[in-house]
Amino acid sequence: MNADETPRLNRRHLLGLEDCSREEIRLILDTADSFKEVIERPIRKVPALRGKNIVNLFFEPSTRTRLSFEIAEKQLSADTLNFTASASSVVKGETLRDTARNIEAMKVDCVVVRHSASGAPLFLSQCLERAVVVNAGDGAHEHPTQGLLDLLTIRDHMGRIEGLRVAIMGDITHSRVARSNIWGLRTMGASLVVCGPPTLIPPDLEATGVEVTHRLEEAIDGADVIYALRIQLERQQGGLFPSLREYARLFGITPERMAHAKPEAIVMHPGPINRGVELDSAVADGSRSVILDQVTNGIAIRMAVLYLLNGGGEREDA
Protein backbone atom coordinates (compact mmCIF):
# COMPACT_ATOMS: atom_id res chain seq x y z
CA MET A 1 0.00 0.00 0.00
CA ASN A 2 2.40 2.70 1.15
CA ALA A 3 6.03 2.68 0.18
CA ASP A 4 7.02 3.23 3.82
CA GLU A 5 5.61 -0.14 4.82
CA THR A 6 8.14 -2.27 2.94
CA PRO A 7 11.16 -2.91 5.21
CA ARG A 8 11.46 -6.52 6.24
CA LEU A 9 13.79 -9.19 7.51
CA ASN A 10 15.16 -11.12 4.59
CA ARG A 11 15.75 -14.32 6.50
CA ARG A 12 13.84 -17.27 7.85
CA HIS A 13 15.99 -17.85 10.94
CA LEU A 14 18.03 -15.69 13.28
CA LEU A 15 21.26 -17.59 13.84
CA GLY A 16 23.70 -14.74 14.34
CA LEU A 17 24.43 -11.09 13.69
CA GLU A 18 27.45 -11.79 11.48
CA ASP A 19 25.40 -11.72 8.29
CA CYS A 20 22.74 -9.21 9.36
CA SER A 21 22.67 -5.98 7.36
CA ARG A 22 22.46 -2.53 8.88
CA GLU A 23 18.89 -2.18 7.56
CA GLU A 24 17.81 -5.46 9.15
CA ILE A 25 19.33 -4.53 12.50
CA ARG A 26 17.71 -1.10 12.34
CA LEU A 27 14.32 -2.67 11.58
CA ILE A 28 14.63 -4.99 14.60
CA LEU A 29 15.69 -2.12 16.90
CA ASP A 30 12.87 0.14 15.66
CA THR A 31 10.30 -2.63 16.06
CA ALA A 32 11.61 -3.36 19.58
CA ASP A 33 11.25 0.31 20.37
CA SER A 34 7.52 0.05 19.58
CA PHE A 35 7.23 -3.08 21.72
CA LYS A 36 8.63 -1.16 24.68
CA GLU A 37 5.34 0.74 24.71
CA VAL A 38 3.39 -2.56 24.82
CA ILE A 39 5.36 -3.61 27.93
CA GLU A 40 4.17 -0.43 29.70
CA ARG A 41 0.44 -1.01 29.06
CA PRO A 42 -2.08 -2.07 31.68
CA ILE A 43 -2.64 -5.26 29.66
CA ARG A 44 0.77 -6.32 28.41
CA LYS A 45 -0.44 -8.65 25.74
CA VAL A 46 -1.05 -8.28 22.03
CA PRO A 47 -2.63 -10.93 19.81
CA ALA A 48 0.04 -10.81 17.08
CA LEU A 49 1.23 -14.43 17.33
CA ARG A 50 -2.05 -16.01 18.38
CA GLY A 51 -2.12 -19.68 17.38
CA LYS A 52 1.63 -20.00 16.90
CA ASN A 53 3.51 -22.72 18.76
CA ILE A 54 6.95 -21.83 20.04
CA VAL A 55 9.24 -24.35 21.69
CA ASN A 56 12.08 -23.21 23.93
CA LEU A 57 14.70 -25.88 23.46
CA PHE A 58 17.41 -25.41 26.08
CA PHE A 59 20.27 -27.88 26.08
CA GLU A 60 22.28 -25.68 28.42
CA PRO A 61 21.21 -24.12 31.69
CA SER A 62 19.81 -20.59 31.45
CA THR A 63 17.47 -18.68 33.67
CA ARG A 64 17.20 -15.13 32.41
CA THR A 65 17.42 -15.76 28.67
CA ARG A 66 14.77 -18.46 28.86
CA LEU A 67 12.56 -16.32 31.10
CA SER A 68 12.99 -13.34 28.81
CA PHE A 69 12.02 -15.36 25.73
CA GLU A 70 9.07 -16.87 27.56
CA ILE A 71 7.74 -13.49 28.64
CA ALA A 72 8.19 -12.18 25.10
CA GLU A 73 6.32 -15.16 23.65
CA LYS A 74 3.46 -14.86 26.13
CA GLN A 75 3.08 -11.13 25.54
CA LEU A 76 2.71 -11.89 21.83
CA SER A 77 0.00 -14.49 22.67
CA ALA A 78 2.00 -17.43 21.29
CA ASP A 79 1.64 -20.87 22.86
CA THR A 80 4.92 -21.82 24.46
CA LEU A 81 6.45 -25.10 25.49
CA ASN A 82 9.66 -25.58 27.42
CA PHE A 83 12.06 -28.39 26.88
CA THR A 84 15.18 -28.60 28.99
CA ALA A 85 17.94 -31.04 28.34
CA SER A 86 18.01 -32.84 31.67
CA ALA A 87 14.28 -33.56 31.57
CA SER A 88 14.19 -34.68 27.97
CA SER A 89 15.07 -37.53 25.69
CA VAL A 90 18.61 -36.21 25.39
CA VAL A 91 19.58 -38.31 28.37
CA LYS A 92 18.18 -41.30 26.48
CA GLY A 93 20.57 -40.50 23.64
CA GLU A 94 18.23 -38.92 21.09
CA THR A 95 20.18 -37.02 18.43
CA LEU A 96 19.51 -33.41 17.52
CA ARG A 97 18.30 -34.56 14.12
CA ASP A 98 15.70 -36.84 15.72
CA THR A 99 14.65 -34.06 18.05
CA ALA A 100 14.18 -31.80 15.02
CA ARG A 101 12.07 -34.40 13.21
CA ASN A 102 9.86 -34.77 16.23
CA ILE A 103 9.45 -31.02 16.50
CA GLU A 104 8.38 -30.87 12.86
CA ALA A 105 5.93 -33.72 13.36
CA MET A 106 4.37 -31.80 16.25
CA LYS A 107 3.70 -28.82 13.94
CA VAL A 108 5.79 -26.39 15.92
CA ASP A 109 6.16 -22.97 14.25
CA CYS A 110 9.27 -21.67 15.94
CA VAL A 111 12.17 -23.10 17.93
CA VAL A 112 14.25 -21.03 20.31
CA VAL A 113 17.41 -23.02 20.88
CA ARG A 114 20.35 -22.82 23.26
CA HIS A 115 23.12 -25.36 22.95
CA SER A 116 26.66 -25.77 24.24
CA ALA A 117 27.86 -26.69 20.74
CA SER A 118 28.59 -23.86 18.32
CA GLY A 119 26.54 -24.36 15.16
CA ALA A 120 23.76 -26.42 16.75
CA PRO A 121 21.08 -23.86 15.73
CA LEU A 122 22.39 -23.84 12.17
CA PHE A 123 22.26 -27.63 12.06
CA LEU A 124 18.74 -27.56 13.46
CA SER A 125 17.62 -25.01 10.90
CA GLN A 126 18.90 -27.28 8.13
CA CYS A 127 16.91 -30.21 9.50
CA LEU A 128 13.65 -28.26 9.77
CA GLU A 129 11.54 -27.66 6.70
CA ARG A 130 8.92 -25.40 8.17
CA ALA A 131 9.81 -24.09 11.60
CA VAL A 132 11.74 -20.89 12.27
CA VAL A 133 14.91 -21.13 14.40
CA VAL A 134 16.07 -18.43 16.82
CA ASN A 135 19.52 -18.86 18.33
CA ALA A 136 19.45 -18.21 22.08
CA GLY A 137 23.20 -18.83 22.43
CA ASP A 138 25.36 -21.56 20.88
CA GLY A 139 28.71 -22.48 22.39
CA ALA A 140 31.26 -19.73 21.86
CA HIS A 141 29.67 -18.74 18.55
CA GLU A 142 26.84 -16.19 18.88
CA HIS A 143 24.03 -14.92 21.08
CA PRO A 144 22.26 -12.64 18.62
CA THR A 145 19.35 -11.44 20.77
CA GLN A 146 21.84 -10.42 23.47
CA GLY A 147 23.82 -8.46 20.87
CA LEU A 148 20.62 -6.77 19.68
CA LEU A 149 19.42 -5.82 23.15
CA ASP A 150 22.85 -4.35 23.83
CA LEU A 151 22.64 -2.31 20.63
CA LEU A 152 19.18 -1.06 21.63
CA THR A 153 20.40 -0.10 25.11
CA ILE A 154 23.36 1.80 23.65
CA ARG A 155 21.10 3.59 21.16
CA ASP A 156 18.63 4.49 23.93
CA HIS A 157 21.30 6.06 26.11
CA MET A 158 23.67 7.59 23.58
CA GLY A 159 21.13 8.47 20.88
CA ARG A 160 23.20 6.69 18.22
CA ILE A 161 25.61 3.81 17.67
CA GLU A 162 27.63 5.05 14.72
CA GLY A 163 30.91 6.68 15.68
CA LEU A 164 30.88 5.52 19.31
CA ARG A 165 33.91 3.90 20.89
CA VAL A 166 32.93 0.67 22.64
CA ALA A 167 35.34 -1.14 24.97
CA ILE A 168 34.66 -4.84 25.63
CA MET A 169 36.50 -6.34 28.60
CA GLY A 170 37.16 -9.90 29.63
CA ASP A 171 37.16 -13.35 28.14
CA ILE A 172 36.64 -12.68 24.45
CA THR A 173 37.68 -16.16 23.30
CA HIS A 174 34.90 -18.04 25.06
CA SER A 175 32.24 -15.36 24.74
CA ARG A 176 29.35 -15.64 22.30
CA VAL A 177 28.09 -12.35 23.72
CA ALA A 178 31.33 -10.65 22.64
CA ARG A 179 31.07 -12.15 19.16
CA SER A 180 27.50 -11.01 18.56
CA ASN A 181 28.32 -7.58 19.93
CA ILE A 182 31.41 -7.23 17.76
CA TRP A 183 29.49 -8.15 14.58
CA GLY A 184 26.53 -5.97 15.42
CA LEU A 185 28.52 -2.95 16.57
CA ARG A 186 30.81 -3.12 13.54
CA THR A 187 27.85 -3.26 11.17
CA MET A 188 26.27 -0.27 12.91
CA GLY A 189 29.48 1.75 12.59
CA ALA A 190 30.94 1.78 16.11
CA SER A 191 34.67 1.46 16.71
CA LEU A 192 35.75 -1.35 18.98
CA VAL A 193 38.51 -1.99 21.47
CA VAL A 194 38.78 -5.24 23.40
CA CYS A 195 40.78 -5.75 26.55
CA GLY A 196 41.71 -8.84 28.56
CA PRO A 197 44.54 -11.22 29.36
CA PRO A 198 46.35 -12.32 26.15
CA THR A 199 45.25 -15.90 26.80
CA LEU A 200 41.59 -14.88 26.56
CA ILE A 201 41.77 -12.88 23.33
CA PRO A 202 41.66 -14.65 19.95
CA PRO A 203 45.04 -14.08 18.21
CA ASP A 204 43.61 -13.00 14.84
CA LEU A 205 41.14 -10.46 16.21
CA GLU A 206 43.15 -7.38 15.20
CA ALA A 207 42.95 -8.43 11.56
CA THR A 208 39.18 -7.77 11.69
CA GLY A 209 39.76 -4.12 12.55
CA VAL A 210 39.18 -4.46 16.29
CA GLU A 211 41.73 -2.72 18.49
CA VAL A 212 43.33 -4.96 21.14
CA THR A 213 44.92 -3.88 24.39
CA HIS A 214 45.93 -5.64 27.58
CA ARG A 215 45.81 -2.54 29.75
CA LEU A 216 42.41 -1.65 31.16
CA GLU A 217 43.11 2.09 31.45
CA GLU A 218 43.90 2.23 27.72
CA ALA A 219 40.57 0.63 26.88
CA ILE A 220 38.52 2.80 29.23
CA ASP A 221 40.19 6.02 28.12
CA GLY A 222 37.88 7.77 25.68
CA ALA A 223 35.30 4.98 25.59
CA ASP A 224 31.59 5.83 25.32
CA VAL A 225 30.50 2.35 26.33
CA ILE A 226 32.31 0.06 28.77
CA TYR A 227 31.11 -3.50 28.40
CA ALA A 228 32.29 -6.02 31.00
CA LEU A 229 31.89 -9.69 30.11
CA ARG A 230 31.23 -12.33 32.69
CA ILE A 231 34.26 -14.43 33.58
CA GLN A 232 32.76 -17.84 32.91
CA LEU A 233 34.13 -19.79 35.82
CA GLU A 234 32.84 -23.03 34.30
CA ARG A 235 35.06 -22.51 31.25
CA GLN A 236 38.23 -21.65 33.17
CA GLN A 237 39.64 -25.07 34.04
CA GLY A 238 42.58 -24.71 31.66
CA GLY A 239 44.54 -22.23 33.78
CA LEU A 240 44.25 -19.36 31.30
CA PHE A 241 44.87 -16.85 34.08
CA PRO A 242 46.48 -17.49 37.46
CA SER A 243 43.64 -16.59 39.85
CA LEU A 244 40.39 -14.69 40.14
CA ARG A 245 42.07 -12.30 42.52
CA GLU A 246 44.76 -11.47 40.00
CA TYR A 247 42.14 -11.07 37.27
CA ALA A 248 40.18 -8.67 39.43
CA ARG A 249 43.34 -6.70 40.23
CA LEU A 250 44.33 -6.28 36.57
CA PHE A 251 41.01 -6.27 34.72
CA GLY A 252 38.30 -5.61 37.28
CA ILE A 253 36.33 -2.40 36.66
CA THR A 254 36.44 -0.26 39.79
CA PRO A 255 35.31 3.30 40.56
CA GLU A 256 38.98 4.44 40.49
CA ARG A 257 39.44 3.02 36.98
CA MET A 258 36.16 4.54 35.84
CA ALA A 259 37.72 7.94 36.52
CA HIS A 260 39.51 7.52 33.17
CA ALA A 261 36.21 7.22 31.32
CA LYS A 262 34.25 10.01 29.67
CA PRO A 263 31.75 11.55 32.09
CA GLU A 264 28.79 10.37 29.99
CA ALA A 265 30.12 6.83 29.44
CA ILE A 266 27.80 3.94 30.31
CA VAL A 267 28.63 0.56 31.87
CA MET A 268 27.09 -2.65 30.59
CA HIS A 269 27.18 -6.33 31.54
CA PRO A 270 25.24 -9.31 30.14
CA GLY A 271 24.69 -10.83 33.61
CA PRO A 272 24.94 -12.62 35.89
CA ILE A 273 27.68 -10.49 37.44
CA ASN A 274 30.58 -11.95 39.41
CA ARG A 275 30.64 -9.03 41.80
CA GLY A 276 34.13 -8.00 42.77
CA VAL A 277 35.68 -9.93 39.87
CA GLU A 278 35.00 -8.30 36.51
CA LEU A 279 32.84 -5.56 37.97
CA ASP A 280 32.99 -3.82 41.34
CA SER A 281 29.60 -3.54 43.06
CA ALA A 282 29.93 0.23 43.27
CA VAL A 283 30.16 0.37 39.47
CA ALA A 284 27.52 -2.28 38.80
CA ASP A 285 24.98 -0.42 40.94
CA GLY A 286 26.28 3.08 40.14
CA SER A 287 24.70 5.86 38.14
CA ARG A 288 26.47 4.93 34.89
CA SER A 289 25.25 1.35 34.98
CA VAL A 290 22.52 0.48 32.46
CA ILE A 291 22.52 -3.21 33.32
CA LEU A 292 18.84 -3.39 34.31
CA ASP A 293 17.83 -1.49 31.16
CA GLN A 294 19.55 -4.25 29.23
CA VAL A 295 17.29 -6.80 30.93
CA THR A 296 14.10 -4.84 30.12
CA ASN A 297 15.21 -4.23 26.55
CA GLY A 298 15.81 -7.97 26.22
CA ILE A 299 12.06 -8.61 26.31
CA ALA A 300 11.33 -5.94 23.69
CA ILE A 301 14.08 -7.26 21.39
CA ARG A 302 12.86 -10.85 21.68
CA MET A 303 9.29 -9.76 20.98
CA ALA A 304 10.50 -7.91 17.88
CA VAL A 305 12.56 -10.84 16.59
CA LEU A 306 9.78 -13.37 17.16
CA TYR A 307 7.21 -11.04 15.59
CA LEU A 308 9.29 -10.27 12.52
CA LEU A 309 10.33 -13.89 11.90
CA ASN A 310 6.93 -15.46 12.51
CA GLY A 311 4.81 -13.09 10.49
CA GLY A 312 3.97 -12.78 6.86
CA GLY A 313 3.65 -15.19 3.99
CA GLU A 314 6.29 -15.66 1.31
CA ARG A 315 9.75 -14.21 1.64
CA GLU A 316 12.12 -13.47 -1.17
CA ASP A 317 14.62 -16.06 0.00
CA ALA A 318 12.11 -18.77 0.96
Binding site: R41, P42, V46, A48
Partner: protein, 180 residues
Protein backbone atom coordinates in the same frame (compact mmCIF):
# COMPACT_ATOMS: atom_id res chain seq x y z
CA UNK B 1 -1.69 3.94 -16.69
CA UNK B 2 -3.25 5.14 -13.47
CA UNK B 3 -6.43 7.17 -13.77
CA UNK B 4 -7.00 9.62 -10.94
CA UNK B 5 -9.91 11.81 -9.87
CA UNK B 6 -9.76 14.40 -7.14
CA UNK B 7 -12.27 14.27 -4.28
CA UNK B 8 -11.02 16.99 -1.92
CA UNK B 9 -8.33 19.62 -2.29
CA UNK B 10 -6.51 21.43 0.52
CA UNK B 11 -9.45 23.77 1.21
CA UNK B 12 -11.91 20.90 0.97
CA UNK B 13 -10.06 18.85 3.57
CA UNK B 14 -9.97 21.82 5.92
CA UNK B 15 -13.71 22.57 5.53
CA UNK B 16 -14.62 18.92 6.01
CA UNK B 17 -12.55 18.59 9.17
CA UNK B 18 -14.02 21.81 10.56
CA UNK B 19 -17.53 20.45 10.12
CA UNK B 20 -16.58 17.11 11.70
CA UNK B 21 -15.01 18.89 14.70
CA UNK B 22 -18.29 20.77 15.26
CA UNK B 23 -20.35 17.61 14.88
CA UNK B 24 -18.24 15.76 17.43
CA UNK B 25 -18.71 18.52 20.03
CA UNK B 26 -22.40 18.92 19.20
CA UNK B 27 -23.22 15.22 19.40
CA UNK B 28 -21.43 14.88 22.76
CA UNK B 29 -22.79 18.18 24.14
CA UNK B 30 -19.37 19.60 24.84
CA UNK B 31 -16.00 18.08 25.45
CA UNK B 32 -16.50 16.62 28.91
CA UNK B 33 -14.61 13.28 29.15
CA UNK B 34 -14.01 13.44 25.41
CA UNK B 35 -10.77 12.13 23.83
CA UNK B 36 -9.70 11.61 20.23
CA UNK B 37 -7.67 8.58 19.20
CA UNK B 38 -6.20 8.52 15.71
CA UNK B 39 -5.16 5.39 13.88
CA UNK B 40 -1.63 5.56 12.54
CA UNK B 41 -0.30 6.74 10.24
CA UNK B 42 -2.70 9.36 8.91
CA UNK B 43 -5.64 9.14 11.29
CA UNK B 44 -3.50 10.37 14.19
CA UNK B 45 -2.56 13.49 12.22
CA UNK B 46 -6.24 14.16 11.48
CA UNK B 47 -7.08 13.65 15.16
CA UNK B 48 -4.51 16.25 16.17
CA UNK B 49 -6.02 18.74 13.73
CA UNK B 50 -9.55 18.10 14.97
CA UNK B 51 -8.37 18.69 18.55
CA UNK B 52 -6.72 21.97 17.49
CA UNK B 53 -9.97 23.11 15.86
CA UNK B 54 -11.98 22.22 18.95
CA UNK B 55 -9.51 24.17 21.08
CA UNK B 56 -10.05 27.15 18.80
CA UNK B 57 -13.85 27.33 18.82
CA UNK B 58 -14.63 25.68 22.16
CA UNK B 59 -11.65 26.80 24.23
CA UNK B 60 -11.13 23.38 25.76
CA UNK B 61 -8.31 20.90 25.50
CA UNK B 62 -9.28 17.45 24.22
CA UNK B 63 -6.60 14.79 24.78
CA UNK B 64 -5.32 13.05 21.65
CA UNK B 65 -3.91 9.55 21.43
CA UNK B 66 -2.59 7.35 18.66
CA UNK B 67 -2.98 3.65 17.92
CA UNK B 68 -0.85 1.43 15.76
CA UNK B 69 -3.07 -1.55 15.05
CA UNK B 70 -0.54 -3.79 13.32
CA UNK B 71 -0.18 -6.16 16.26
CA UNK B 72 -3.96 -6.66 16.24
CA UNK B 73 -4.43 -7.36 12.53
CA UNK B 74 -6.34 -10.44 11.48
CA UNK B 75 -4.48 -10.74 8.17
CA UNK B 76 -1.07 -11.00 9.79
CA UNK B 77 -0.63 -14.61 8.67
CA UNK B 78 -1.46 -13.92 5.03
CA UNK B 79 0.36 -10.67 4.32
CA UNK B 80 3.63 -11.02 2.46
CA UNK B 81 5.57 -8.22 4.13
CA UNK B 82 5.40 -7.19 7.75
CA UNK B 83 4.26 -3.61 8.22
CA UNK B 84 6.51 -1.49 10.39
CA UNK B 85 5.14 -1.50 13.92
CA UNK B 86 4.95 1.95 15.45
CA UNK B 87 4.17 2.96 18.99
CA UNK B 88 0.68 3.38 20.29
CA UNK B 89 0.42 6.40 22.54
CA UNK B 90 -2.50 6.66 24.92
CA UNK B 91 -1.30 8.81 27.79
CA UNK B 92 -4.70 9.45 29.36
CA UNK B 93 -7.04 7.17 31.32
CA UNK B 94 -9.38 5.37 28.89
CA UNK B 95 -11.69 4.11 31.63
CA UNK B 96 -15.01 5.99 31.57
CA UNK B 97 -14.18 8.27 28.62
CA UNK B 98 -15.93 8.97 25.39
CA UNK B 99 -13.41 8.02 22.74
CA UNK B 100 -13.73 9.13 19.14
CA UNK B 101 -11.62 6.92 16.89
CA UNK B 102 -10.33 8.83 13.89
CA UNK B 103 -9.12 7.29 10.63
CA UNK B 104 -8.57 8.56 7.12
CA UNK B 105 -10.60 5.96 5.20
CA UNK B 106 -13.30 3.52 6.29
CA UNK B 107 -13.37 0.61 3.84
CA UNK B 108 -13.54 -3.04 4.99
CA UNK B 109 -13.89 -2.14 8.67
CA UNK B 110 -11.09 -4.52 9.66
CA UNK B 111 -8.76 -1.77 10.83
CA UNK B 112 -11.50 -0.45 13.10
CA UNK B 113 -12.15 -3.95 14.46
CA UNK B 114 -8.44 -4.18 15.35
CA UNK B 115 -8.48 -0.68 16.87
CA UNK B 116 -11.48 -1.56 19.07
CA UNK B 117 -9.68 -4.64 20.36
CA UNK B 118 -6.52 -2.70 21.07
CA UNK B 119 -8.34 0.18 22.74
CA UNK B 120 -10.03 -2.30 25.03
CA UNK B 121 -6.60 -3.40 26.31
CA UNK B 122 -6.03 0.14 27.55
CA UNK B 123 -9.26 0.19 29.55
CA UNK B 124 -13.04 0.20 29.23
CA UNK B 125 -14.27 3.35 27.56
CA UNK B 126 -17.79 4.54 28.34
CA UNK B 127 -18.56 4.98 24.66
CA UNK B 128 -16.57 4.65 21.46
CA UNK B 129 -17.50 6.55 18.31
CA UNK B 130 -15.92 6.53 14.87
CA UNK B 131 -15.02 9.48 12.66
CA UNK B 132 -13.55 9.08 9.17
CA UNK B 133 -12.54 11.59 6.55
CA UNK B 134 -13.59 9.30 3.71
CA UNK B 135 -16.31 6.68 3.85
CA UNK B 136 -16.38 4.17 1.00
CA UNK B 137 -18.33 0.98 0.35
CA UNK B 138 -16.85 -2.46 0.87
CA UNK B 139 -17.52 -3.33 4.50
CA UNK B 140 -16.60 -6.88 5.51
CA UNK B 141 -17.68 -6.37 9.14
CA UNK B 142 -20.75 -4.74 10.73
CA UNK B 143 -19.01 -1.42 11.43
CA UNK B 144 -20.23 2.09 10.60
CA UNK B 145 -19.04 5.65 11.02
CA UNK B 146 -20.64 8.18 13.39
CA UNK B 147 -18.98 11.11 11.65
CA UNK B 148 -18.30 11.04 7.92
CA UNK B 149 -16.30 13.67 6.10
CA UNK B 150 -17.16 12.64 2.60
CA UNK B 151 -18.90 9.60 1.17
CA UNK B 152 -17.19 8.33 -1.99
CA UNK B 153 -18.69 5.78 -4.35
CA UNK B 154 -15.94 3.49 -5.59
CA UNK B 155 -15.44 0.16 -7.31
CA UNK B 156 -13.17 -2.50 -5.79
CA UNK B 157 -10.30 -1.83 -8.24
CA UNK B 158 -10.04 1.75 -7.01
CA UNK B 159 -7.84 3.01 -4.18
CA UNK B 160 -8.59 6.08 -2.10
CA UNK B 161 -5.42 8.09 -1.56
CA UNK B 162 -5.42 10.51 1.38
CA UNK B 163 -2.53 12.93 1.69
CA UNK B 164 -1.86 14.90 4.87
CA UNK B 165 0.69 17.70 4.98
CA UNK B 166 2.41 16.42 8.15
CA UNK B 167 3.49 13.27 6.30
CA UNK B 168 3.00 13.93 2.59
CA UNK B 169 3.66 17.66 2.44
CA UNK B 170 0.17 18.47 1.17
CA UNK B 171 -3.50 17.84 1.92
CA UNK B 172 -5.79 16.16 -0.55
CA UNK B 173 -7.98 13.17 -1.34
CA UNK B 174 -8.17 11.40 -4.67
CA UNK B 175 -9.38 8.12 -6.09
CA UNK B 176 -6.98 6.15 -8.23
CA UNK B 177 -7.69 3.24 -10.47
CA UNK B 178 -4.96 0.66 -10.42
CA UNK B 179 -3.89 -0.75 -13.77
CA UNK B 180 -5.03 -4.37 -13.96
Amino acid sequence: MTASRSILDEKGVSRTLTRMAHEIVERNRGTEQLALVGIRRRGDQLAKRLAAMIREFEGTEVPVGALDINLYRDDFQVRAAQPVVRRSEITFEVEGRIIVLIDDVLFTGRTIRAALDELNDFGRARRIQLGVLINRDGRELPIQADYTGEYVATVPEETVVVLVREIDGEDGVSVERKPT
